[in-house]
């Protein structure tokens, strides 16, 4: 592999690597706007100019590949700084400088590079700025708005629609200083990944209608998390202010979602805001055949009530799992089921629209299930017909039986692990069927009709309020952080379950998600060798030898949707 020397630091790179990427390897940042690792190189912003020994002119770093040994590059010489200063001046000539009302302010390429490479005064004093009257807020599609005045014509968005989504809605129109971005006649920017153009836009020209004016970005707290929109498990950043989520943004993971995420995924946090929350534990008074009033109660009383019922129960106890549980919660529910001696556990499959993310050098990843972690929940202990690690035979109450049949009427106790286990939780007929259980316990964050019908309703955290792992469609286990703490009496599921299990056995007391994951890794073969603290940021593939084939995964094999 050829060696290249950048600012006296030598690095060996793969032949063909461009200088922007090569410099990154030695910790030298070459400023750039139009270059993006997943888009074709056009070399047109001219911000990445560098000095190469032996070349008379400065060269664009993005379009200069390292092909053979001995290239000597400098980015810290005065002529490069001069050129960068000149480019910054050009960029800002006709830019409206409306940062105070611009959504991008705080994460803007123009702001950042102006501070680093620009000058603090303007020589453009006597002329009028070029404007695009009437093009200040053009909806390109349902989710993206264009302000042409702020555009720096880097064409990242155009190339994104041409090369990544291959839908080519956007084009470069007009020429010279009048050049503008726009949709082709009769086309709208409404592909599944449309909002990604907002992410890759280095300035405030493209803004998201969903996030527009929602919050100044410098007030946002950002935490790495996962999208719960489907089983792909896109890596995201949850951006919130004091617990109020403002947006999800994709987080780079070359094995999952690359740099992208779909517009549907971005919208999923709105569910947390629009759905009424379960805020206190509630217990229904004894007697009255399920029609007694429910009253808010303390966690202690509520968990005592559940423990009493499960311990004293020698009849049928069923567990209706959920693909929204973290692997750790599912594991603890599995333990609970073991203690209750119940083989009746299952995770419902909720098929929705497919969501497909193109990846670099790999086939696209596609998810059809609406829940992020059905696989993890099943592997961790909620697979049907397994109790205490041993397969059980006989009639099993599966999720199908419970949700669509009259299985619940045969239950002396039914534990619904998530009040929003799927959209079916909002179906009155389903609620009525599940209510036929003699004793109905519902965990969950949503105060769904099902939670309201429960004998014991337990408020647990949403996925942004807890930490844990999800197993995605390709059986990759990925960890996510808590973005912000749950409010009031709401507690993370692991904490609640650990509390509940400790009523049966003291060894379960005071467990964190990490401790649960490590126990899970020690007992479940698929997770063998993994540990909470060493799990890579990009996740790890599970060992699936010996795990039965996955019918749903085969059915939703990549290749659907965007090609």
């Amino acid at each position: 592999m050829p060696k290249v020397t950048i600012n006296d630091r030598t690095v060996e790179v793969e032949a063909g690597t461009n200088l922007v990427d090569a410099a990154m390897k030695v910790g030298v940042q070459i400023p750039h706007y139009c270059y993006h690792p997943r888009l074709s190189v056009v070399g047109q912003c001219r911000m990445c100019l560098v000095k190469i020994e032996g070349m008379p002119k400065l060269q664009a770093g993005c379009s200069t590949p390292v092909v053979k040994d001995g290239m000597v590059v400098r980015t810290d010489v005065p002529e490069v700084a001069e050129a960068q200063k000149g480019m910054m001046e050009f960029f800002l000539l006709n830019h409206p400088l409306d940062c105070p009302i611009c959504d991008q302010a705080g994460e803007c390429g123009l702001q950042d590079y102006s501070f680093k490479h620009g000058v603090a005064y303007s020589r453009f004093q006597y002329e009028d700025k070029r404007t695009y009257p009437g093009r200040e807020r053009i909806p390109l599609g349902a989710n993206v708005l264009l302000n042409m005045n702020r555009c720096i014509q880097c064409t990242r968005c155009v190339r994104f629609t041409q090369e990544v989504t291959k839908t080519a809605e956007l084009g470069f129109f007009n020429r010279g200083a009048r050049t503008e971005i726009g949709t082709f006649p009769g086309k709208e920017l409404n592909n599944d990944l449309a909002t990604c153009v907002v992410d890759i836009c280095p300035v405030g020209a493209l803004t998201s209608t969903r996030f527009r004016f929602a919050e100044r970005v410098f007030y946002l707290d950002k935490k790495p998390s996962l999208c719960t929109g489907c089983e792909v498990g896109c890596n995201i950043t949850v951006e919130h202010r004091r617990g109020s989520i403002k947006r999800y943004k994709p987080r780079f993971n070359v094995d999952v979602n690359d740099y992208w995420m779909c517009d549907y995924g971005r919208s999923t946090f709105e569910l947390y805001k629009t759905t009424p929350r379960l805020v206190t534990p509630r217990v229904r008074a004894e007697g009255g055949n399920g029609h007694s009033p429910v009253t808010p109660t303390s966690w202690k009383d509520a968990l005592d009530a559940v423990a009493r019922r499960l311990r004293g129960n020698q009849e049928t106890v069923a567990f209706l799992g959920s693909g929204f549980l973290t692997t750790e919660e599912a594991y603890l529910f599995g333990q609970l089921a073991d203690l209750a001696g119940s083989p009746h556990r299952s995770v419902p499959v909720d098929l929705g629209d497919p969501h497909t993310i193109p990846r670099h050098g790999q086939p696209p990843i596609s998810g059809r299930e609406a829940a992020p972690n059905r696989r993890g929940a099943e592997l961790a202990g909620l697979a049907p017909g397994i109790a205490d690690g041993k397969a059980m035979t006989g009639e099993l109450l599966t999720s199908d039986e419970l949700v669509h049949g009259d299985g619940a009427s045969r239950c002396s106790a039914l534990v619904v692990c998530d009040s929003y286990f799927s959209r079916a939780a909002y179906d009155p007929a389903v609620v009525e069927r599940l209510r036929k259980a003699k004793f109905l316990v519902v965990f969950g964050w949503a105060d769904s009709p099902l939670a309201q019908a429960a004998d014991v309703a337990l408020p647990v955290a949403t996925h942004t309020e807890k930490e844990g792992t999800f197993v995605n469609v390709e059986h990759r286990v990925q960890r996510f952080d808590r973005a912000f703490p749950a409010q009031g009496q709401v507690r993370p599921g692991v904490e609640v379950l650990s509390d509940l299990l400790s009523r049966f056995d003291a060894k379960w007391a005071n467990l964190s998600a990490g401790a649960v994951f490590d126990r899970l890794a020690a007992t479940v073969p698929a997770f063998a060798g993994l540990s909470w603290h060493t799990l890579p940021a990009t996740g790890a593939p599970l060992h699936l030898a010996g795990v039965p084939g996955d019918a749903i995964a085969a059915e939703t094999a990549p290749g659907t949707g965007i090609e």
Partner: protein, 431 residues
């Protein structure tokens, strides 16, 4: 000028040369016939030896350019003839195409044989309707006469030639912008490298030559490189050259001289200054060439001498300006052209050409400041060498020469708060 027999323009004014028969009577297609009997490499060698340099502006050795085309048959090869002559002041190729289309076809065919290209596109400026029609007619006849098509002059060499009309963008005269346009895309230059000789039209090796360059080729083949080298100033500046003279002269037009004729001879040939006025300045090589002052009147008009004088021969479009010319206004008008024609792709050219025009317009209207000269130089410095293609460099040529060579005129505009020259309409809209 001692009797110089025109080479490239010998058929100008002879309508019979528009037909294959008439062209052949004047010795036409002999060069093609001769080269088909030569090895392709020998043709390239002959052209290299002749010292023929590209007539489009850059002055790069044509033979060398051809030799960059990789051998081998894994990819088709193309010749694209650059007939997108759009630089203000340039109208030499038009003459060749309208009066002697077969000379161009022959030159193209020889080049295709030399680089083993089976397809040739003549990318012609959209406004050249008559030239395009003439070429189309000539092509049709050439096909009928077996000069083009499945077997070029019975040699078995297959060659197709097409006329492709542009849509009126200067930037499509830039070689990679032309290729994009030819491929049906937005005409904007590509990042180089890779150069067209490796990745050109449709991803294949491509030679791109100017009309006049290719018109020289048949004569080199027929009369030999040594004869060709005998014309011109020295080893590096050889052959006949067309000069398109416009501006304040009595008889503007296209004139053929051996390369290296002095500007004074050119001027005299064109009938001298208009109305006997005095020469103030001239542009030696089209709108992008820095302006020279009258004291350079005895300059030899070849590539190297003009470059040494701080300008460039470019396409040899000579624009002559007399003492009534306001240099600020002239350069402002040139800047307007480059601003209008910038493709908008790269930052320095898109923003810089626009800014320069605004500053110059302001100066011309008497609203300039003493700092503007320095400002213009600084903008030129930020554009120069930093743009994606040569248009940025082209745009700064006249501006830099204005500041360097006519500073007193800028100063006068600022001091008087008005243009000191008689009022003429500056922009077409009267502004």
């Amino acid at each position: 000028m001692a009797a110089f027999e025109p080479v490239l323009t010998r058929n100008v004014g002879k309508p019979e040369a528009l037909s294959v028969r008439g062209y052949r009577q004047g010795g036409g297609y002999e060069g093609l016939a001769k080269s088909l009997k030569m090895e392709p490499d020998a043709v390239i060698e002959e052209v290299k030896k002749s010292g023929l340099r590209g007539r489009g502006g850059a002055g790069f050795s044509a033979g060398l350019k051809w030799s960059f085309i990789p051998k081998g048959k894994d990819k088709p090869k193309y010749l694209v003839c650059n007939a997108d002559e759009s630089e203000p002041g340039t109208f030499k190729d038009r003459l060749l195409m309208e009066h002697d289309p077969h000379q161009l076809i022959e030159g193209c065919a020889i080049c295709c044989w030399a680089v083993s290209a089976a397809t040739c596109y003549i990318y012609i400026r959209g406004e050249y309707t008559q030239a395009a029609a003439t070429l189309e007619r000539a092509l049709k006849e050439a096909y009928e006469q077996g000069i083009l098509g499945d077997s070029v002059m019975g040699s078995g060499f297959k060659l197709d030639m097409y006329v492709h009309r542009g849509a009126g963008a200067y930037i499509c005269g830039e070689e990679t912008g032309m290729l994009e346009s030819l491929e049906g895309k937005r005409g904007q230059p590509r990042v180089k490298p890779p150069f067209p000789a490796v990745v050109g039209a449709f991803g294949s090796p491509t030679v791109i030559n100017n009309v006049e360059t290719l018109c020289n080729v048949p004569h080199i083949i027929v009369r030999g490189a040594d004869w060709y080298k005998g014309i011109g100033t020295d080893e590096r500046n050889t052959g006949p050259k067309l000069y398109a003279i416009s501006g304040h002269v009595e008889r503007p037009g296209t004139y053929e001289y051996p390369i290296g004729v002095t500007f004074r001879e050119l001027l005299d040939g064109a009938g001298g200054m208009w109305k006997g006025r005095t020469l103030k300045a001239f542009i030696p090589g089209g709108a992008s060439a820095p302006i020279l002052k009258a004291d350079q009147i005895d300059i030899k008009m070849d590539f190297d001498t003009v470059a040494k004088a701080g300008s460039m021969l470019g396409s040899a479009a000579v624009i002559v300006m007399d003492e009534t010319t306001c240099m600020v206004r002239s350069v402002a008008r040139l800047s307007k052209f480059f601003n209008h024609e910038s493709c908008g792709q790269c930052t320095p050219c898109r923003e810089g050409t626009n800014w320069m025009e605004l500053v110059l317009k302001r100066l011309e209207h008497g609203e300039g400041t003493e700092r503007d000269a320095q400002l213009l130089l600084s903008i030129c410095k930020n554009i120069g060498g930093n743009s994606l293609c040569a248009l940025g460099d082209a745009a700064i040529g006249p501006v830099k020469s204005l500041v360097d060579r006519f500073p007193e005129e800028i100063h006068q505009h600022v001091r008087d708060r008005a243009c000191p020259f008689p009022k003429q309409r500056y922009f077409s809209n009267g502004a």
